[in-house]
């Protein structure tokens, strides 16, 4: 039997395509020639590795899945934060980054936009990430923590000084009825959007409070807290794209953030949020 015939027979057996007779033939060959047994074992290893590797190799040439539109802005934000912007495009800076830079530079208006356009190409990744994750303090954002999302639309946990712990938030809520604001964070595109009954559920959970509609990260970041110093504030944002409800709290200049996943449905999750905010006051 030549090499190719042995290979073909071995492949049939390894792939379980062989008949009983072919298996018996192979077993007889392996019993007679130990070097063929070693070769067969090597082919078995090769086949196992090939199967694993081919799955990834095939994935490298895949072309059918369509890029979800909702991910575009999230990833473009990652590109801007990581690589900055080319000079030709930088003349019209993206709103979300412009906000951060404007605050960071401590200037306002068109002068700042021009400065951003000039300096944006010099921004290094570390600096931009620092701005994204740890915003600088401003009168509107004394703690320096605005919502930051990952590329997949999840809320990034805030860090740095000025954070309010869950316990401190609850203590504040036990003594102060929070001022509540509501919003739906609807990215549009292919992302799951809020259904009509979900909007109604949100309206009915906190009656009489208007619901803001936010359609991108910039709007979420640009949404200003009311200037009521010392007042406990709770901002509840429903993000249907990632099936989460985000609670943002602010008290005496410190911020708090908590994510409530939609394990069952929106109504149940909103009741959890409501209980979280109101529970301490019931004691």
């Amino acid at each position: 039997m030549n090499d190719q015939s042995f290979f073909d027979l071995a492949m049939k057996v390894i792939a379980r395509h062989a008949t009983n007779e072919e298996r018996a033939n192979l077993n007889a060959l392996l019993a007679q020639e130990p070097e063929l047994r070693a070769e067969f074992e090597r082919l078995e290893t090769d086949a196992r590795v090939a199967k694993d590797a081919l799955s990834l190799i095939t994935a490298c040439t895949a072309s059918t899945a369509e890029f979800p539109a909702y991910a575009r802005e999230l990833l473009q934000t990652a590109v801007r934060q990581t690589l900055g912007r080319p000079e030709s495009v930088a003349k019209e800076p993206h709103r979300s980054l412009a906000w951060g830079w404007r605050r960071g530079l401590g200037l306002a208006g068109a002068t700042v936009v021009l400065l951003v356009a000039v300096s944006v190409v010099h921004y290094k990744r570390e600096r931009v990430q620092e701005l994204a994750v740890k915003q600088e303090a401003t009168p509107n954002d004394p703690a320096g923590h605005e919502p930051v999302l990952t590329a997949s639309g999840r809320l990034l946990a805030p860090n740095g000084p000025g954070l309010l712990t869950e316990e401190a938030f609850k203590q504040a809520a036990a003594q102060n009825l929070p001022v509540i604001q509501l919003a739906i964070f609807d990215l549009g595109g292919d992302a799951r959007r809020a259904e009509k009954n979900e909007v109604t559920t949100l309206e009915e959970t906190w009656k009489g409070i208007p619901i803001q509609n936010l359609s991108n990260v910039s709007e979420l970041q640009a949404w200003r807290w009311p200037n009521e110093v010392g007042q406990l504030e709770a901002r509840i944002v429903y993000a249907p794209g990632v099936r989460e409800v985000w609670l943002f709290g602010r008290f005496q200049g410190r911020v708090f953030q908590k994510t409530f996943p939609l394990d069952r449905d929106l109504a149940t999750t909103l009741q959890q949020v409501k209980a979280f905010i109101q529970e301490p006051t019931k004691r």
Partner: protein
């Protein structure tokens, strides 16, 4: 689809990245799905998006645009495997593993992923990307397709011959050469 312009990608050009997202998406999605669909199907899209996000950070290290897809695949593979390990380690830590039989909860299979002795699991991300790139370069048509037909689709020699329009005798020859190429690329260290 045209290949994205690597120089433009490195400068953060938005339109070049739009092209790259559409071009890379099928790869990262396919890898994430391959690994996660049986255990964590709700995480497939997130892992795919996060893989492209991570790729953005690495684009400046890439020398040719052809390297991007293997790199994206290796990132997605590592993220998916890490996520599986993390989730199931957490479950074990909480003492919730219970029976190894499949348990369905909310339409998701909750059983443990089988432990893999595949050499791919131990490869560093860069090494995996390099070997994927090499495989793509070496497995010229129809060799790669025939290997996939046999090892992934489970087709017999005759079925492959019909599908690819080659002689039945040639199928085995392509398979033998393809498997030898794979051995050189993927089992290099074990053989040396």
């Amino acid at each position: 689809m045209n290949l994205p312009d690597l120089a433009a990608l490195k400068t953060g050009d938005a339109s070049a990245w739009d092209e790259a997202f559409a071009w890379l998406w099928p790869t990262v999605f396919a890898v994430a799905k391959l690994k996660l669909e049986p255990y964590l199907p709700n995480e497939v899209q997130d892992v795919a998006i996060e893989s492209i996000e991570q790729l953005v950070e690495k684009v400046t290290e890439v020398k040719s645009v052809e390297e991007l897809r293997p790199l994206a695949a290796s990132i997605a593979h590592h993220r998916a495997v890490s996520l599986l390990r993390e989730r199931f380690a957490k479950k074990r830590g909480e003492g919730k593993t219970g029976s190894l039989d499949a348990q369905t909860q909310g339409g998701v299979i909750q059983n443990e992923p089988p432990s893999s002795d595949s050499p791919l699991e131990d490869l560093e991300q860069a090494e995996l990307a390099q070997r994927l790139g090499k495989s793509l370069a070496e497995l010229k048509p129809p060799m790669g397709e025939i290997l996939s037909d046999f090892f992934l689709q489970g087709l017999r020699y005759e079925e492959i011959a019909n599908k690819r329009g080659v002689a039945v005798g040639s199928v085995g020859v392509y398979l033998k050469r393809g498997l030898e190429a794979m051995r050189r690329i993927w089992l290099r260290e074990e053989n040396s």
